[in-house]
């Protein structure tokens, strides 16, 4: 019951923020859309006016939208921790009987609803702008998107934990944010790349959206591996976060930013 109450409170807070800072949200949305258009038309310009079409364009759209989602989730964990410390609220959240990881995870879930809605709007706008319509098989996509975002959240927890110890590491956070482009877009053919956080799941998302393969028709071993990778990075992220948190509490630097 308490968990539902906390989850509800996080949803309410996220929506209040969305309403109160709507133009900021809208600005972010427009920026992401404009960046996509620049990439799309830029590519056409470089290719001497050649039209992008077929799987290439589909992969570009899916790659872009999965990167946007991954980036938002990653930022939600890593940047919010810094903001909470700067706003002097971090220690209050730590004093919740639920524990900070659960409080943050629930905020993440609440934020995800907003991010997913935003991503869907961007996706539709991209499809309308490019004329390339993709397969939106929600039953297949929901578990795959979860397997994409869970390891990214784990990565966010690792960076968040390091932030508790080393404080101002914004430059590293920004670098990782752009490395996510490579992570979600990396081909799995190299073998080792499929073990990166979200890479295999991102590949499977492309298979569903671009090649119109349903979840049940995807190779079972790949789906299972994507699930295992998701759980591995989630546990690793929480483990590293808890270790760093403990170190920060021993050194008395938890709320000092």
């Amino acid at each position: 019951m308490g968990n539902l109450v906390l989850l509800g409170a996080q949803f309410k807070r996220e929506f209040i923020y969305l309403k109160r800072y709507f133009f900021n949200f809208l600005g972010g949305f427009v920026t992401l859309y404009v960046v996509f258009l620049l990439i799309f038309f830029g590519f056409r310009g470089i290719a001497g006016g050649t039209e992008m079409y077929g799987a290439g364009l589909g992969n570009l759209i899916v790659g872009y939208v999965t990167w946007v989602l991954a980036m938002m989730i990653y930022q939600d964990v890593s940047y919010n921790l810094f903001n909470e410390a700067r706003e002097g609220i971090l220690e209050q959240l730590y004093m919740s009987p639920f524990g900070y990881v659960r409080v943050t995870s629930f905020r993440l879930i609440a934020g995800l609803v907003i991010h997913l809605s935003m991503s869907v709007v961007i996706l539709v706008a991209m499809m309308l702008s490019t004329g390339r319509y993709l397969n939106l098989d929600l039953i297949s996509l929901v578990p795959l998107v979860a397997m994409l975002l869970i390891p990214v959240a784990g990565l966010g927890f690792i960076l968040g934990g390091l932030q508790l110890l080393y404080k101002r590491i914004q430059s590293i956070l920004q670098v990782v944010q752009f490395l996510l482009v490579g992570v979600v877009a990396a081909p799995i053919g190299l073998g080792w790349t499929q073990f990166l956080p979200g890479t295999l799941a991102s590949h499977l998302v492309r298979e569903v959206m671009v090649n119109e393969i349903s979840f049940t028709s995807l190779p079972g071993n790949q789906s299972l591996l994507a699930l295992g990778i998701a759980l591995f990075y989630a546990l690793l992220g929480i483990g590293v976060f808890r270790f760093c948190e403990r170190r920060a509490m021993i050194s008395g630097r938890l709320g000092q930013f």
Partner: protein
């Protein structure tokens, strides 16, 4: 009565480069249900470290804390469900949320459905005179109101232990008085156990029957305020003079032990005399009589808590009993 807060032999050092700084050394005390205790000490004495250890935010090197019987490290969730805190230097509230939204959110953060504590939230809003600001964001409130909201947030769920780190710091007189009244109320009406750290001696005098004075990481005094005042009570009188003294008389007065001359331009001349030795008084009177100085009034001078605090902290330092806390070990 039940012991709701138990601190047993807590020691804490902080690593600093290659050395360690001792913040607390072997600190022990207990607080019973419904007790309001002031934790006093100069800056850097270890008060905030103590508060953060109780709240489970800083890990002690040695010793144990029990909040309503639970250890904040081993039984974190249970212990934290029994306490609330307002920490100094923190905002403690979300600035983009309104007064009511903050109260709702923090009730949920403690696991309480905001709908079920609606009555309590309304009472807190009313008690702190925040009715007109219910729908105003915390960012738009004055400093005093933000502090009152932080206090209300800590009280939104009925927990038995309340930790307040400098709750009146930087507040105007009116806001400080409101918080003082609220504190009295939560102890008297709700029987909460409150640990209060502050430098505001008027607040301590008004609300704390007992104080713990901590200096350089060690408890130097743990006693009732009345006992401390009695212990340090001296027969001290103030002579209010109606005329200026000559510089020769001033020099003579300064030579008398336990006698302090205050020559405040515009506010007259005062002489404080400690009557532990009666001959001091006779010597002062002889000096004043030699110039026919006019004595306008004689009043008994009561010692206040601030002087007791300075006496205890100063005496400890002078006796060289300050231990190693706050210093490299």
């Amino acid at each position: 009565m039940e012991e709701l807060l138990k601190i047993e032999k807590i020691s804490k050092t902080y690593p600093k480069k290659k050395e360690k700084i001792r913040a607390l050394e072997n600190v022990s005390f207990q607080m019973r249900e419904g007790e309001l205790v002031g934790l006093l000490g100069p800056n850097g004495a270890g008060k905030t470290t103590m508060v953060k250890i109780i709240c489970g935010l800083v890990a002690p090197d040695e010793g144990e804390v029990r909040v309503a019987g639970y250890n904040p490290w081993k039984e974190r969730s249970r212990a934290l469900s029994k306490l609330s805190a307002v920490l100094e230097g923190n905002r403690n509230i979300y600035w983009p949320l309104t007064v009511r939204e903050n109260l709702d959110f923090f009730a949920a953060l403690k696991g309480e459905n905001p709908g079920r504590v609606r009555g309590r939230i309304d009472d807190l809003i009313s008690m702190l005179n925040l009715e007109d600001k219910v729908n105003v964001t915390a960012r738009s409130l004055s400093r005093g109101m933000q502090q009152k909201l932080a206090l209300a947030v800590a009280l939104v769920v009925d927990v038995p232990v309340l930790i307040l780190d400098e709750p009146t710091l930087g507040l105007d007189v009116e806001s400080a008085l409101e918080i003082r009244e609220m504190l009295k109320n939560v102890v008297q009406e709700e029987k909460k156990t409150v640990l209060l750290t502050t430098h505001d001696m008027r607040l301590v005098r008004a609300v704390c029957p007992r104080v713990i004075i901590i200096n350089q990481g060690q408890i130097v005094t743990d006693d009732r305020v009345d006992n401390l005042l009695r212990l340090f009570e001296v027969k001290s009188y103030r002579l209010n003079l109606g005329s200026q003294l000559t510089s020769e008389q001033e020099l003579q007065l300064q030579e008398i032990e336990n006698t302090v001359l205050h020559n405040e331009r515009g506010n007259g001349v005062f002489i404080d005399i400690n009557l532990e030795r009666m001959e001091n008084l006779y010597r002062v009177l002889d000096i004043l009589r030699s110039s026919n100085a006019l004595i306008e009034s004689i009043e008994r001078k009561d010692i206040d808590l601030e002087e007791v605090f300075l006496e205890i902290v100063g005496r400890r330092a002078a006796n060289g009993k300050s231990g190693t806390a706050g210093r490299p070990v």
